[in-house]
Amino acid sequence: MITVQNLKKQFGSNVVLKDISTTIREKEVVCVIGPSGSGKSTFLRCLNLLEDVTSGKVDIAGVEVTDPKTNIDKLREDVGMVFQRFNLFPHLTVLQNIMLAPKYIKKMDKAANEKKAMELLAKVGLAEKRDEYPDRLSGGQQQRVAIARALAMNPRVMLFDEPTSALDPEMVGEVLQVMKDLAHEGITMIVVTHEMGFAREVADRVLFMDGGYIVEEGTPAVIFDAPKHERTQAFLSKVL
């Protein structure tokens, strides 16, 4: 589904991703963990080219993302993204937030679009908030709407960039629950997260990143209970 080969990314002289290679299978749920500054978010943002790649190859569903000739807008329709800071559109209602991209990009019929949007809202448990503006919602509710908004485009892959890091602790659970449900539905997911409990429970595979490399990867059981690399051990001993 996703192949990353020798991905490198530098900002000026600062090399954030040194050499990343990995493959993510269809329907796989991959959690990316690691200390801050390890390049986790940058890695995620390179996958849909929110950051342009310095060198290396990214291939999603047979489309070479890093090829300059690729229609990146088209590719992004298939790659949903959820941000740490939600980034809902504040001038639109919840329903309008969800319906906007399908309306303008997929030219979706209004009735069908609204029906789909309401289904998604119901799925994240916020059907009654359809006509509210984002500033009237709590952080957890905003993030659930943001997930619904990304799902409205029927993406094949969902990228989550620290989706619970900006939330008050009591709201983390509701967002993780929605993400768990998604994982069980079989959407390919890549989740950059500090929620080790979530990674352990939901991930098929965990990537531990440090210093611009994937230092270690494996099933949650391997990474959390028997990490081989000493940097993984050091990190986990701090966060667990």
């Binding site: 929110l50 992004r76 329709e77 790659v79 993204m81 980034n87 559109f89 504040p90 990009i105 500033d135």
Partner: protein, 218 residues
Amino acid sequence: MSDTLQIMSDALPILFEGLLITLKIAAISLVIAFVIGLAAGLMSTARSRIIRGLAGIYVDIIRGTPLLVQVFFIYFGLPEFFDTRIDPEVAGIVAVSLNAGAYIAEVVRAGINSVDKGQVEAARSLGMNRFYTMRLIVLPQALRRMIPALVNQFIISIKDTALLSVIGIRELTQSGEIIISTNFRSFEIWGMVGVFYFLLILPLSRLSLLLERRLNLR
């Protein structure tokens, strides 16, 4: 002083005609200026350095020269160079439009830059191209924030049309001068001209406040 009321009522129809011309020139100029300002403001946020540079040069030239000089250049300078004539009202409208357009471009640029980068990323990650992102996400938010600065510029430009009296347009200020040249009653006439401008501007200030309150927070 006993004939003050008579003087004023005599002046009223002439000043009112002038007011209409001021209103016409201001309205046309501000519409054009808004289009120019929006275009130049968008250009100044473009990726291409050349496009940004062009917008920058335009803004710098206008901001770096007095409106009066711009008016003279457009009304006297350009027609002389091209050996032609230009209608004073047209010249006036062109001058005020270009002038206000440059300041509005800066307002637009600041408004666009004030929109959180995450908004653009969210839109782009949904598959929206640059055009849709600008039109559906960035500009609607930017325009709301621009309203106070925009109205401020509108007010300044409306008052700037008074300068057009120097090229013989019979707008409000010129009408006042014409009356005074026959009756020598500066106090009454300039007082009335001032009140006319004030009454023209006041509703605009009020409208701005109203808009701001209605669009607040969204």
